[in-house]
Amino acid sequence: AQRVTQPEKLLSVFKGAPVELKCNYSYSGSPELFWYVQYSRQRLQLLLRHISRESIKGFTADLNKGETSFHLKKPFAQEEDSAMYYCASFSGSARQLTFGSGTQLTVLP
């Protein structure tokens, strides 16, 4: 079974500081990993996916198969980045997402 672990429930950084939200996964096949974000009073939305190797709102995430990690990073955090972040893995066979427990990021002024 898939498992996604986000070890930090809460994370606070100051504006302009680098931020890294940790995510580790366990999956026997080829993982497909995502980061979802939920801003205050908004719905859950896709932030980025590992397969696209994209940078969205300054965030990047690299899949490290050796460490089974998919950490989300941003070099200079902004106050508007404050939100709940969920790491998720997708099972092709079951066609479903498995979510981590989420990390509440607060960017302080």
Partner: protein, 114 residues
């Protein structure tokens, strides 16, 4: 991307009653999903609802407690039956996008059971 609406947005219900949550999508989609997010917890998949077939339930969830309907490609309902305070959660509907591994989420239904 799909636009998803849910009704009701929130409700407060008495123990022992049932609530049906509606999910409407602005386009035809094959797969719809129902999730539960208990207070302070992550999202847990309840079931996958495909049009024209029975919903597929995840471990720990049963049809008698969470009956699901999927009458067409744009609509689904989830009923929370015989509610208890432990059912107090946010219930979310999601759909697959054009990319099979992408999902779009509704705004959620916040349920409180007294």
């Amino acid at each position: 991307s799909a636009v998803i609406s849910q009704k009701p947005s929130r409700d407060i219900c008495q123990r022992g009653t049932s609530l049906t949550i509606q999910c409407q999508v602005d386009s035809q989609v094959t797969m719809m999903f129902w999730y539960r997010q208990q207070p302070g917890q992550s999202l847990t998949l309840i079931a996958t609802a495909n049009q024209g077939s029975e919903a597929t339930y995840e471990s720990g969830f049963v049809i008698d407690k969470f009956p699901i309907s999927r009458p067409n490609l744009t609509f689904s309902t989830l009923t929370v039956s015989n509610m208890s305070p432990e059912d107090s959660s946010i219930y979310l509907c999601s759909v697959s996008g054009t990319s099979y591994n992408e999902q779009f989420f509704g705004p959620g239904t916040r349920l409180t059971v007294l």
